[in-house]
């Protein structure tokens, strides 16, 4: 495939061209004031900022708060430029408009090697690719919270919007007071002059121009908020029970629905008998659910409370039917993937030198096979959505990472124009990528259509949530390295296989743009083809498959398993060549100074090489994802024959740090998330049925097992990069590497055993 074709298809949107090539320069994301929700007394200055009569600042918030702190992070960008206290910024859900599309997330889907962009000037092909995809992304305007991209994306537009508001307010004051703008300052959200004149924003906004001549961003040296650990704006409501999640929506005369889907993924209902179920107290009706937006078919029971609905849905007698194409089976899929590696060379994502020649001339070749299982997201808040269809209008309340997709699927299911759908985004009780899918929204709307104008809240049980996820795909990889006569590693070759994610997601969320054929999917190869190590010869190829298992984006996506493969194997190479794992990596990072700095910081803070209590060992791993570089050093022992992680030292370079407290929190969370997967995580599919059902069979790390996590930040002036996900990938290999030191046994499959 030619590279130009490839760049376009990397979007997973071969059909992106159908949207056309309008002229849409980046500044147009500022938006017109009418883009914002009109509210009495407030004056919008552009598509992002409104000023309220009381002087507070209203920010249009397109991104979903799922724990990552994005509401606080984006508000900080506004407060900084306006020299307002953070508490003066209020949030309002952004409307469905292209200016709120997440451009950075799509640009990050380009499969360029990150080292190419390490220097001051990016190579022409990178600039061209980013320009093209950026243009398409602005045209598509997909509002998604994912890919650890929210701050990186907002960085190019939100500060500009706030600076424009600042200029407008200063201009208004200058005119009102007949004073030169240059003599005015803003402090604590008030415009001031040395003469003693002072006014809050609400007193100035009436005279503010909507297109100020010059919006100038504050200089870095003048920042007073960015870089500070400002407290999260959502915390007070999350400690007194008032924070409203999807499951907490309550409306007059609301009904509640419980769901049962065919336990065999992709299967259907053969026959059912609901007489006994419908005769139970509080039960209203049963609604059939077809397979929609990637879901498996089944039915819902509507009742006066969730408990009545949950009880009745289990009382329905049902015969299920296996999918037409035969039962899915994870063991068989793994066998097929291993066979595939023998016959299919896959798509080459990266090549340097001649790895095959290096192997042919090598003193010896080190080889290993790795695998990682399917995984469920297990958000604490199970899938749910509330909907009401009344008088030809549809209102939907959804904890979603993709409000535009959710609105579109709601309109499609209801058979109404999208303009008739109002979508409210609630807090998300965890996302981790699961809520980039909209199956539960489609189901809720289907049920609401049958409820005669009454609102209905559809809530999955934990079992449905675990057994009907969009799983992290199972992956296998073969890694080979050539060791020359001097004992030096001269090549690295990686060949991996597993289901593509992006094309499936496009089919579910944006079917109009799903391509006729699958194109190479960066999201499943990331973390293998983009390594920082200076092996002279490299070859990385991935075979994208389509097993039929519903697969989706799982916190850190391809990196989550690929880092386990690559960073475990790099550790193997260190031991094979009798070198210290840290020193081995350091020597390979001479041309990647930022990576080396992160690695060294983690090693130094963990006192790598110093004595440990008997029975304890350290492991280290380094990985770049979502533009950020993370190194983790773990300290592990065996307790009752099981791995026990005591301490994790993290170092991260995530560019400019907006809020160090939030970065710390995300690293702590990533460690727990990664450790849960490393020690326990596996989803097995037998005869089409997911075997793990609830937290008893799909266990989570508990507080008693949680390690002490320390986070160290690299100071940087680069633009902000990802924080929510990059802490996850290095954890599993770091633990595996420590376990090798403890046991002498190399573990090449997840979850890790003792």
């Amino acid at each position: 495939m030619r590279r130009r074709t490839w760049i376009l298809s990397a979007l997973g949107a071969t059909g992106a061209l159908v949207v056309g090539w309008g002229i849409l320069p980046p500044r147009s994301r500022l938006g017109a004031p009418e883009t914002m929700l009109p509210t009495a007394g407030d004056v919008a200055l552009n598509g992002w900022i409104k000023i309220a009569q009381d002087g507070s600042v209203v920010l249009a918030m397109p991104r979903s708060e799922m724990g990552q702190g994005v509401h606080t992070g984006l508000a900080m960008l506004v407060a900084e430029q306006l020299d307002a206290p953070l508490g003066l910024v209020r949030l309002e859900q952004a409307r469905d408009d292209k200016i709120y599309g997440n451009v950075s997330m799509l640009v990050a889907s380009l499969p360029f090697h990150p080292l190419e962009s390490e220097g001051g000037v990016k190579p022409a092909k990178v600039r061209l690719g980013e320009w093209m995809v950026g243009k398409i992304a602005r045209e598509l305007g997909i509002n998604a919270t994912g890919g650890s991209s929210s701050l990186a994306d907002a960085w190019d537009v939100v500060p500009v919007a706030a600076a424009a508001a600042r200029a407008a307010l200063l201009g208004s004051a200058a005119q009102q007071w007949q004073l030169p703008v240059a003599e005015l300052t803003i402090q604590d959200g008030r415009v001031q002059h040395a003469s003693g004149k002072s006014a809050h924003f609400g007193e100035l906004v009436a005279g503010a121009s909507h297109s100020p001549a010059k919006a100038v961003l504050k200089e870095r040296k003048d920042w007073r908020l960015i870089g500070q650990s400002a407290p999260r704006m959502d915390v007070p409501a999350k400690v007194d029970g008032t924070a409203r999640f999807g499951i907490d929506v309550r409306l007059p005369d609301m009904l509640f629905a419980a769901v049962r889907m065919c336990p065999m993924l992709g299967g259907t209902v053969a026959t059912l008998d609901d007489k006994a179920a419908l005769a139970l107290p509080g039960v209203k009706k049963r609604v059939s659910l077809d397979a929609v937006a990637g879901s498996t078919a089944g039915f819902a029971v509507v009742a006066q409370t969730s408990w009545h609905a949950r009880t009745a849905v289990q009382a329905v007698q049902v015969q299920w039917q296996q999918r037409k194409d035969g039962a899915l089976d994870s063991q068989r899929i793994q066998q097929t993937l291993l066979e595939t590696l023998k016959t299919d060379k896959g798509f080459t994502f990266y090549e340097k030198g001649d790895a095959a020649a290096a192997e042919a001339g090598a003193a010896r070749v080190v080889e290993a096979s790795y695998s990682a299982p399917y995984l469920a997201h297990a958000t604490m808040e199970p899938m749910n959505c509330t909907a009401q269809f009344k008088d030809g209008k549809l209102e939907v309340w959804a904890p979603t990472q993709v409000p535009g997709f959710a609105r579109a699927v709601a309109a499609k299911v209801a058979g109404v124009d999208v303009e008739r759908v109002t979508l409210h985004v609630t807090y998300l009780g965890g996302g981790f990528g699961r809520r980039l899918d909209i199956d539960f929204v489609a189901q809720a709307v289907r049920v609401a259509m049958a409820c005669d104008g009454l609102p209905v809240q559809l809530l999955w049980s934990r079992v449905e949530d675990t057994t009907h996820d969009f799983y992290r795909p199972l992956h296998v990889a073969q890694l080979r390295a050539a060791v020359d006569a001097k004992g030096q590693v001269s090549s690295l070759r990686i060949h991996s296989a597993g289901d593509a994610i992006t094309p499936r997601w496009m089919e579910r969320g944006l079917p109009a743009l799903a391509g006729p054929i699958d194109t190479p999917d960066k999201t499943t190869a990331e973390g293998l083809f983009d390594l920082p190590y200076g092996f002279a010869n490299q070859h990385m190829a991935h075979v994208a498959t389509h097993s039929g298992v519903p697969v989706g984006f799982w916190r850190s996506v391809g990196h989550s398993h690929n880092a386990f493969f690559s960073e475990s194997f790099v550790d193997e190479l260190a031991f094979e060549t009798k070198q210290d794992p840290l020193a081995f990596r350091q020597a390979l990072l001479i041309d990647a100074p930022r990576y080396l700095a992160v690695l060294n910081l983690a090693a130094e803070k963990a006192a790598w090489g110093s004595a440990l209590p008997a029975g304890h060992a350290r492991g280290i791993a380094l990985h770049e994802s979502f533009g950020s570089i993370v190194a983790e050093v773990v300290e592990v022992s065996l307790q009752d024959g099981k791995p026990r992680v005591h301490r994790v030292v993290c170092a991260i370079d995530c560019g400019t740090v907006i809020n160090p407290g939030l970065v710390q929190q995300q690293m702590e969370g990533a460690v727990v998330f990664g450790l849960t997967a490393a020690l326990y995580g596996r989803i097995d599919i037998v005869d089409g049925v997911v075997q793990q059902r609830n937290f008893d069979s799909y266990p989570m790390l508990s507080l008693a097992q949680a390690p002490r996590v320390e986070t160290w930040l690299i100071p940087s002036q680069r633009p902000p990069s990802g924080v929510g996900e990059p802490g996850v990938p290095p954890l599993a290999p770091a633990v595996a590497n420590a376990l090798f030191v403890l046991t002498g046994k190399r573990q090449r499959a997840l979850p890790l055993q003792a």
Binding site: D234, V239, G661, Q665, G669, V672, N694, F695, S702
Partner: protein, 154 residues
């Protein structure tokens, strides 16, 4: 049936085998208490029954007759936050926040029974699942609240 919920006596007309969780959420619309698993495995539904932490998804309403139920909505008394809530803010514990009501109610019961819990005590008592990984901050916040409520033990 007469129940005492957050200090108020209520007459409720529900099946006695309905779990307390659904009475709170779907009948009384006290939505601070969350549903997570339905099998008492995650603790998101933790409330206090007669001062003890219970997992309300598996305890029927009939078990609450004559015993007061306290939920997150009544953890603050008379508008004054519970020291745990203050500590939770100081330590910036929540991320997504979904499990935090249950965490706080379990922690409050712990501090009722143990004024200066050790890390091990906290590990034993706090078996609530947090998918965002707030555990080390939960631990720190409980120590902070214990200190605020009872002073240093040493």
């Amino acid at each position: 049936m007469q129940l005492d919920v957050n200090g108020k006596t209520l007459e409720v007309n529900v099946e006695p085998d309905m779990p307390i969780l659904w009475l709170l959420r779907d009948v009384l619309h006290l939505t601070g208490t969350k549903f997570g698993c339905g099998i008492a495995a995650c603790g998101a539904c933790t409330v206090q029954l007669d001062g003890q932490a219970i997992r309300s998804c598996v305890v029927p309403v009939s078990a609450a007759e004559g015993k007061p139920i306290t939920t997150i909505e009544a953890l603050a008394k008379g508008g004054v936050p519970h020291p745990l809530q203050t500590a939770w803010i100081a330590e910036q514990v929540p991320q997504c926040g979904y499990c935090q009501s249950g965490m706080l109610m379990a922690a409050a019961a712990l501090l009722e029974n143990n004024q200066q819990p050790s890390d091990a005590d906290i590990g034993t008592a706090m078996t609530n699942i947090c998918r965002c990984g707030s555990y080390q901050r939960v631990r720190a916040a409980i120590h902070r609240a214990a200190l605020a409520m009872h002073g240093s033990a040493t």
